[in-house]
Each structure stands twice: as C-alpha cells, then as structure tokens.
C-alpha cells in the first residue's frame, strides 16, 4: 500500500528541470516510455484513425450522407448497410463517417481557441501576481463553474444555432481550466533557480515567460487539452441532440441521435452507432491524455 522510498536519485535532476535544455537521450527515453504504455498507444491509434476517417470520408463512405432513399427507411444493419439506415433512408455508416469531420473540426478549433486564451491569461496571472492575478483568477473561477451547456444555449439564443455556437461556447468556458493550470505551473516554476539565472543574464520578462517558463509549464495544459477535445466533441453532440448544433442535413453525431430518439424502439441502431463512434473517439483522447500524464510524470492535472 505504500510507495517505495526513492533511493535512486531523479536522473533529470532534483526539482523541476528546465526541459528546454534536456539532453536528447532523455527525449528518447520519454518516447520509449510512451510506447510502452499500451493504453496510450491505443489512444493514439484511435486519434489517428479518427483524423484519417475525417480526411478520407469521401473515399471511405459507401454512400452520400444526405441522399435519401425513402424506400429504404429503418433498415436494420445488413451487408448493404453495415449500420442500417435512418428515417430518411440514409446510410448510417456514411453519416457516421462524415460526422467525424464535424467532430474533429469542432474539437480542434474550440480547444485551440480556449487553450490560447487560457495560456495567455493564465501566464499573465501567474507571472505578475498581485491584483492582476487576483482579478483574473476570480473571473476564471466564475467562468469555470458555468455549465458549458448554458453558455452554449445563451449563445444560440443570441447568434442562432450552428457549429460556431459550440466552438464559441467551449472557447469561452474552457479557457478557465487551462488558465488555472498554467498559472499554477508558473507560480511553481518562476521561483526556480534557472529563472533567476536567466534574469541575471539580462533576459526581459517576455523572454523568460515565453522561452523558458511556458515550455516547461505546458505539460498539464497539453494533457488537459487532449481531454478537452473529447469534452468538446461531447458538447457538440449534446447541442446537436438538442437541435442546436450543426444543422441538418449535416450529419453531426448528436443530431443523428436526436432524431433517432423518436424511433428508439423501431431502429435503435440510429442511436447506438453514432454514440459508439463518439465514445470511442472521446475514449481515445482520454487514454492519450492519461498516458501523457504517466510519461511526463505530471503530478497535478486537477484544477484546484
């Protein structure tokens, strides 16, 4: 039940090393450690698969995602339609494949937006401290506790339904967790000796912040971002389920499940398959993120 005492010294040096100056042997070791983590590899495979499916949809999908075939409604999964058809006779498999594009788009763009915003605000808060820190943290706290669905709904009310709502909603709520993470990291690192050393060599705030502190502090943020992509995809699906995300005939996974609800008892596969696709996708991102935690030996990815 107890962790063994560390008699062997940490090879990278005690405390938090400056990773920008890591020897290349260390990098290779990290790579090997990552590939040894089977779950993480599975995660990466899933992610690559997702991106592949999204890019190659035109070649992979057997049918068009919007062509209706009213004589072929509610067909159960068969050799012709591996995932069956929906209430308009559209091939579910093709729709799922094309749907991955929306998910990837939303996931990446929204997380990218919130990470950039969060990094910026968080670094400033952590580095300068004082009342700036105080003010920014309070704002971050409030933002973080908002359910993203509510923000998304609000945005829908204002700008109308669509994928942009989702992206904005995620961007506007999720930045807070990245800000907190990077702030915590910077607070921890800015007192490290090498920062003092760099400053005494004449570097200004900007250089210290962006060339040294940020690369070292970014670990937990990367992990949170990978998991964030998963969260973004789920949110898109949720909004789609409420009819507020990507609009028909775009095959958003959430929208598919939404229209499928009415036919839950007749053709459950319309709900099951998009849901499975989403689950596997999010699982992939989460596994990858977890493996990163292990490899980079990050202690704290919770935002407290």
């Amino acid at each position: 039940m107890f962790k063994k005492r560390e008699i062997i010294q940490n090879p990278a040096g005690a405390g938090n090393p400056d990773l920008t100056m890591m020897p290349s042997g260390q990098r290779r070791r990290l790579w090997r450690k990552f590939t040894a983590n089977r779950l993480g590899v599975i995660g990466v495979v899933i992610i690559i698969g997702l991106v592949g499916v999204a890019s190659l949809s035109d070649w992979l999908a057997p049918y068009s995602y919007k062509e209706q075939e009213l004589s072929a409604m509610y067909l159960a999964p068969s050799a012709e339609h591996w995932m069956g058809t929906d209430e308009f006779g559209r091939d579910v498999l093709s729709r799922v494949i094309y749907g991955s594009r929306i998910s990837v788009y939303v996931g990446v763009v929204s997380v990218g937006l919130s990470v950039i915003l969060g990094l910026f605000i968080g670094s400033i808060a952590g580095y300068y401290g004082g009342w700036i820190d105080h003010a920014l943290t309070t704002i971050a706290d409030l933002t973080w506790s908002l359910p993203e669905i509510l923000v998304a709904l609000l945005l829908v009310a204002i700008i109308g339904a669509g994928v942009e709502c989702v992206i904005l909603a995620i961007g506007l709520t999720y930045w807070a967790q990245y800000a907190r993470l990077i702030r915590g990291q910077i607070l921890m690192l800015k007192n490290e000796v090498y920062v003092e050393a760099t400053r005494s060599l004449g570097a200004n705030d900007f250089t210290i912040l962006f060339k040294h502190l940020l690369p070292n502090a970014i670990g937990p943020v990367v992990v949170a971002a990978t998991i964030g992509v998963g969260q973004a995809i789920v949110l898109e699906a949720t909004l789609g389920f409420l009819g507020l995300g990507a609009q028909p005939p775009l095959p958003s996974w959430g929208a598919m499940m939404s229209s499928g609800t009415a036919y839950l008892f007749i053709s459950p596969w319309v709900i099951i398959f998009p849901g499975l696709a989403m689950m596997i996708t999010v699982l992939g991102f989460n596994l990858f993120g977890d493996a990163l935690v292990d490899v980079m030996d990050i202690k704290d990815t919770t935002t407290s």
């Binding site: 039940m1 107890f2 063994k4 005492r5 008699i7 062997i8 010294q9």
Partner: protein, 327 residues
C-alpha cells in the same frame, strides 16, 4: 543489559530493477540512559537503520535478511504486526527528519500528541490533554495551552519540531530515535533543540539514538558514536576515545575534513572520490576505493567487525591481528 542491541544487520529493498542492499554489517549497542550518535554522509543508510529498528521496513518494500535486533531483551525481528503496534510509540519512538512534513496538516497539533497517548496509555482524554500541555511546557514551548489548538501550518519550524519531539516522548518510551532532527532548522534553533534532547534524555533516563551528519552535534551530547559508511558501521565506541584517536581510515579522514578555528589557512581537506550509490557499492570493503591505507585484500573481502580491548569496534582489516586471541 543493553537497551538496544543491533548485530550484523543486513537489509535489502525490492526495486523495479531488482534488489539493492543499503545495509550490510550494522552493529552497535545502546545502554539505558545513554545517548548514541549515528553519523554518516547522505546515502550511508542511517535512516534505513532507524526504519529497520522501528519495524517500518515492510511498509517501504524492505526486509531484514541477516542479523538481529534485540530491544529490552526482546527479538524485534520476530514481532508480529500486533506486537509492533504495542511497542511503536509506546516503548520506542521515531522522530523524523523534516518537521514541516511530519505532522498531519488537518489536525490540531495538540490532538496529534494526544493521539499517541490515548493509544498507549490508559488515561482519559482530559488527562491526556493536561499531560500533553505539561510535556509541551517541559520542552520550552511557550503558551502550551494556546499552541495546543493551533494547526501545523501556523507554527514555526522550531515549534513544529518541538511538537514532533513531544509526540515521540508522550507515551514514555524507553528509546527515542531522532533522525536528523535539526537538519531542517536554523542554526540557533538547532542548538536549542539539541540541548532539549540532552535534557530529556537525562530527565527521563531514556536511551537516545541520534542520527545526524553533523559531527559537532555528536561531540556535544553523545556518549557513544557509530560511524557509518555505505551501509556499514565502520567504527563504534566511546565518543571521546574515537574523536581523539580514530582507528578506521574513514573516521580519520572524516575528522580531518572538519575545519577548526585557529588552524592554518590553506586547502580544505576532502576525501577523494565520491560516496557510492546503493547500486554501485564496491566489492570487498566498501570504502576501499577511497581509502588511504588500502591493501589488496580489501578489494576482495569485507572486513569483519573487530572488538578492541577498550570497548571500541572497528571494521577494518588493519586490526585483524587483534582477532587472534582476543574476546
């Protein structure tokens, strides 16, 4: 009868890559009321020795492979966990290195002292509280009644360490093991704490095993000293005798390293080479690569622990002649 007898102790730990043996050949004795210093550099195995004596090795993936530990006549290595729980804290106590991290941050310090008392003594909570405050007062903690209700983060390092000492003494142990009790403190506070220890040992007649890397502290309050290097006790015996006339080459080198007031300015002495890590302990005598008096046999054979007439033990082949025909 000695309070504590450690004989030829050998300890190993299970690590990811296999086993390591941080201790091999640790022997010393403490009489009741005696203060013994265990001195060595970082990595010499001092803390592991303390953990072994307290029976804490199983919790950190360690085990004793050879040797004996006799405490008040009882063989500690044969103890079950139940027996251990009756002895730990009650008959022998451990005070550890870093007072900052030795206390549970969510409980008041007074309650943490009382916890041990309620566990081992048959008294009521209010009696325990009173005794705890008396104990705190005797350790020169100002305003014991107030400090009792504080949380660890509200106290200074010196105060925290006194609380930790109080926790060690609260159930009236016969042996107190203090693992580097002053390393994390300011120099001025260090002196106070050391004096406290001596006072406590004399007042209560308990045995004190003081682990440190500071020779000055040893000289101040210890009756006996065991010099440790790379998991072995290389010399053991009366403090005055050893400091004045060190036998083992390591002891000699160690004492020479300490600068003294009034000595000539010049090169600071250091022992050539580095302390080996636990995975790279040399064969034979573990000190031989750095020893100024090394002989060919030192590379091959671990020296036996030799008892000299004046009560000093030394683990060096140079004194092997004393083995023939001596007790």
């Amino acid at each position: 009868m000695p309070l504590l007898q450690v004989e030829s102790l050998r300890v190993r730990f299970k690590m990811e890559e296999g086993y390591v043996e941080p201790l091999d050949g640790v022997s010393f004795e403490i009489e009741p009321g005696e203060v013994m210093g265990l001195v060595g550099e970082t990595g010499s195995g001092k803390s592991v020795t303390a953990q072994a004596i307290m029976g804490l090795l199983p919790f950190i993936n360690g085990e004793v492979t050879e040797g004996r530990i006799i405490f008040m006549g009882k063989d500690l290595l044969s103890f079950s966990e139940e027996q251990w729980q009756k002895y730990r804290g009650a008959k022998l106590s451990l005070i550890s290195q870093n007072p900052m991290t030795s206390l549970d941050p969510v409980y008041r310090v007074g309650d943490q002292i009382v916890e041990g008392m309620l566990l081992h003594l048959n008294i009521s909570r209010s009696e325990a509280r009173q005794q705890a405050m008396d104990l705190m007062a005797s350790l020169h903690i100002p305003n014991p009644a107030g400090v009792y209700y504080q949380y660890p983060h509200q106290l200074s390092g010196g105060l925290k360490q006194r609380i930790v000492i109080a926790m060690g003494l609260c159930a009236g142990p016969n042996l107190l093991i203090a693992d580097e009790p002053t390393t994390a403190l300011d120099v001025t506070v260090q002196a106070q704490i050391i004096a406290l220890f001596k006072e406590a040992a004399i007042q209560r007649g308990i045995g004190l095993l003081l682990i440190t890397h500071d020779l000055g502290v040893i000289a101040q309050i210890c009756d006996k000293v065991a010099i440790m290097y790379a998991g072995t006790v290389v010399e053991f015996g009366d403090v005055v005798s050893i400091f004045n006339n060190p036998r083992h080459f390591y002891t000699k080198a160690l004492l020479q390293c300490v600068p003294k007031l009034g000595m000539q300015k010049g090169i600071l002495r250091a022992i050539p080479g580095n302390v080996p890590s636990v995975q790279t302990f040399p064969d034979g005598c573990r000190f031989h690569p750095r020893c100024s008096g090394v002989e060919p046999i030192c590379r091959l054979q671990k020296p036996a622990n030799i008892h000299l007439e004046n009560g000093i033990n030394v683990a060096c082949v140079k004194y092997a002649s004393h083995l023939k025909g001596s007790a």
